[in-house]
C-alpha cells in the first residue's frame, strides 16, 4: 500500500496514509482531486469495485468526511479515499458516471446528511423517508430521542428501565 501511496502522491496532493491492515488503508484527498484520483485508481491501478460511499459527521470540526472505499480484487486490497467538505452548504461532485451505483449512495447521502450532489440522477427524489422536513436525520445535531418524544406517545402500562443501570446490575452484580 505504501508503494501505491508513493505513486499516487506524485500525481495528487494526498494526505498521510493510515494503514489499518496490510490490505486496507485510508488516505485524505482534496475534493477537487477526487475524480481524477478515482479514475486513476479504477483504470490504472485495478481498483474497479466501489465498495461503498458514505459520510461521517465531524460536527465539532464543522466538516463532513466522505469515504469512497475502493477494492482491487486481483491484489486483494482496499483503499478508502477520505474527502473533507464543510458542513455548511455541503456539496460534492457526483461520480455517477464513474460508477452508476454511486447514484444510489448519493441519493441516500442527500436525504440522510443533506449533502448535495448536483447532476446525480434522481438525487432529490425521496429514498427512504417520506415528506421529511426536519434536520437530515443522520446528522449529529438531529436528536432521535427528542424527535421520538415529540412525535410519538408511550403506550400506557409500559415499564422502562435505564439501560445503563440495568446492564450494570446484570453484568456486574454487587458493583464488581
Amino acid at each position: 500500500m505504501r508503494e501505491l501511496h508513493a505513486r499516487l502522491k506524485q500525481l495528487f496532493p494526498l494526505g498521510e496514509l493510515t494503514e489499518q491492515r496490510p490490505n486496507l488503508a485510508f488516505v485524505t484527498v482534496p475534493a477537487e482531486f477526487l475524480r481524477p484520483a478515482l479514475l486513476h485508481l479504477r483504470d490504472r491501478e485495478g481498483f474497479t469495485h466501489l465498495v461503498l460511499l458514505t459520510a461521517v459527521d465531524w460536527i465539532e470540526d464543522g466538516q463532513f468526511q466522505l469515504t469512497y472505499l475502493l477494492s482491487n480484487r486481483t491484489q486483494a486490497c482496499d483503499i478508502g479515499l477520505r474527502v473533507m467538505i464543510p458542513r455548511d452548504g455541503a456539496t460534492m461532485e457526483s461520480i455517477h458516471e464513474v460508477w452508476p451505483t454511486a447514484a444510489t449512495y448519493q441519493r441516500e447521502l442527500r436525504e440522510m446528511f443533506g449533502i448535495d450532489f448536483p447532476g446525480s440522477p434522481r438525487v432529490n427524489d425521496e429514498f427512504i423517508l417520506e415528506g421529511w422536513v426536519d434536520v437530515p436525520p443522520y446528522r449529529r445535531d438531529f436528536d432521535t430521542k427528542k424527535f421520538a418524544e415529540e412525535n410519538f406517545s408511550q403506550r400506557p402500562g409500559r415499564v422502562t428501565t435505564d439501560p445503563a443501570t440495568h446492564m450494570k446490575e446484570k453484568l456486574y452484580p454487587g458493583g464488581a
Partner: protein
C-alpha cells in the same frame, strides 16, 4: 419463425436520457409490484411502467422497513449495539454479528480465540444454507413451482433446530459477540448435524430433479435476466450474481477471513449469467456449504477458550480509528464500516449490504423489456433482502 419485437410503440428518450412517457396517451400503464405482493422479495416495491405486457421502465422504492439502525447505534455503547446489529438482515443475521464484532475487535485491539473463529465460521455456513433454502423456495415459487418452497422450508427448519440447540434461538442468534462466541458446541451436536446434512442432501437431490430438470422452469429461466459480465464491477455486483457471470468474486477466497484459509474449497462459478445459472450456482454453493460444515466439524479444535477477556463493557472506550470488515454472505459482499472517535459510542456505523446495489441500480437496468410475469422471477434471482438496503 424468429420473434422480432415491435419497438415502434416504445417511448422516445428525452434530452437528459430519461424516457418520454406520456401516460395520458393510453399507451402506457403504471403498475406497482409491491410492497404487498406475492411476487416481491420482502417489503419493497417496484414501480413499473408497462407497454402492453412488457416493462419499459422500473423504479425501485424502499423504505418500508427503515428502522434507522445506523443512527440508533450512535447512541449506544459497543456492547449495546451487539443485540441490534443482527436485526439488520432477517434471513441471514449472523453476518451482521460477525462483521460488527470483527470491526470492534480490530479497533479495540482484541483477538478472538482460535476456537471461537471455528465456531463463527460454522455459524456463518449454517446461516448460508438457511438463506439459500429460502431463496430456492422463492425462486421456484416465482415460476409457479410451489412445492419446492415446502421442501426447502422443511430442511431449513431442521437447520433452525441445530441453531436452537447451539445458540438458544432460531432466527436472531446473538451468538457472535465482540471477543468471541457465547458458548461451545453442545454434546452430540456433530451427530445431529450430520443427520441434518444428509437430509439436506436428499432434499437437494429432489430439488435438482424437480426444479432444475423441469421443462417449465428451464423455459422461463434460461436466457432470462442476463447480467453482462462487463456490468459486474461498474454496478458493484458481488456474490452468486457475479459468480454466475463467470467472475470468481468470493470474499472467502479473495480476502480470506476467519478459518477459511484452512478449508478446502473452490468458488462455484457459472457461465451463462441468466436466472437459471444463478439458481444453479446457489444450489451448488449450498452443497459446498454442506461440505464446508463437515470439514469444520472434523478439523475444529475441541478445547480452549471461546471468549477473549473484554474490558468493563459499560465503560468501554475505543480509540479513534476507522475500519471496514467484509464477509461473503449468501447474496454477496457484506461489510461493516465502523468509525470510532475515542468515546464509548461508535461515531458512525455503515452497513454495506449486497442488495443495496443489486436491488436498486442493477434491477432497474435489468427490468427493462421483460414481460410482467417474469418480473418476480428476475427480482428473486438477484436474491435481495430489502432491510439491508435501508437499515
Amino acid at each position: 419463425m424468429t420473434y422480432v419485437p415491435d419497438r415502434s410503440q416504445y417511448p422516445a428518450k428525452k434530452a437528459d436520457g430519461t424516457l418520454d412517457i406520456d401516460l395520458a396517451s393510453g399507451k402506457y400503464l403504471k403498475l406497482w409490484q409491491g410492497p404487498q405482493h406475492p411476487g416481491i422479495t420482502g417489503n419493497m416495491s417496484v414501480e413499473l411502467t408497462v407497454c402492453g405486457d412488457e416493462v419499459v421502465e422500473g423504479k425501485t422504492h424502499v423504505g418500508y422497513l427503515h428502522r434507522g439502525f445506523e443512527k440508533l447505534m450512535e447512541r449506544r455503547t459497543f456492547i449495546q449495539c451487539f443485540p441490534i446489529v443482527c436485526r439488520v438482515c432477517v434471513p441471514e443475521p449472523d453476518f451482521n454479528e460477525y462483521c460488527f464484532a470483527a470491526a470492534v475487535e480490530e479497533l479495540a485491539g482484541i483477538e478472538a480465540p482460535e476456537r471461537a473463529n471455528w465456531i463463527r465460521t460454522l455459524i456463518l455456513e449454517m446461516g448460508r444454507i438457511n438463506s439459500y433454502m429460502m431463496y430456492l423456495g422463492g425462486q421456484a415459487g416465482a415460476f409457479g413451482l410451489g412445492v419446492i418452497g415446502q421442501w426447502t422450508t422443511y430442511v431449513r427448519d431442521l437447520m433452525l433446530d441445530r441453531f436452537e440447540e447451539l445458540t438458544g434461538a432460531r432466527i436472531y442468534h446473538m451468538f457472535i459477540l465482540p471477543g468471541g462466541v457465547r458458548d461451545v458446541l453442545p454434546d452430540g451436536f456433530d451427530q445431529r448435524m450430520e443427520e441434518t446434512l444428509r437430509e439436506i442432501e436428499r432434499t437437494m437431490q429432489d430439488v435438482h430433479d424437480v426444479m432444475f430438470c423441469n421443462a417449465v422452469f428451464k423455459k422461463r429461466a434460461v436466457g432470462q435476466g442476463y447480467i453482462d459480465p462487463a456490468l459486474v464491477d461498474s454496478y458493484g455486483v458481488t456474490g452468486p450474481n457475479a459468480r454466475a457471470a463467470g467472475i470468481a468474486k468470493d470474499v472467502r477466497k479473495n480476502q480470506p477471513y476467519l478459518v477459511y484459509p484452512q478449508l478446502d474449497f473452490e468458488p462455484v462459478i457459472g457461465k451463462d449469467s441468466d436466472i437459471y445459472t444463478r439458481a444453479d450456482v446457489r444450489r451448488r454453493d449450498l452443497l459446498m456449504s454442506v461440505d464446508l460444515i463437515r470439514q469444520l466439524l472434523a478439523k475444529m479444535p475441541r478445547t480452549g477458550p471461546v471468549m477473549a477477556k473484554l474490558p468493563n463493557v459499560l465503560h468501554w472506550k475505543i480509540p479513534r480509528g476507522e475500519t471496514y470488515i467484509r464477509g461473503e454472505c449468501s447474496r454477496g459482499e457484506y461489510g461493516y464500516y465502523l468509525v470510532t472517535d475515542g468515546s464509548g459510542y461508535p461515531r458512525r456505523v455503515n452497513v454495506r449490504g449486497p442488495s443495496y446495489t443489486h436491488a436498486m441500480a442493477l434491477l432497474e437496468r435489468l427490468i427493462v423489456n421483460i414481460n410482467i410475469s417474469d418480473v418476480a422471477g428476475l427480482m428473486v434471482s438477484l436474491h435481495t433482502y430489502p432491510p439491508e438496503i435501508e437499515r
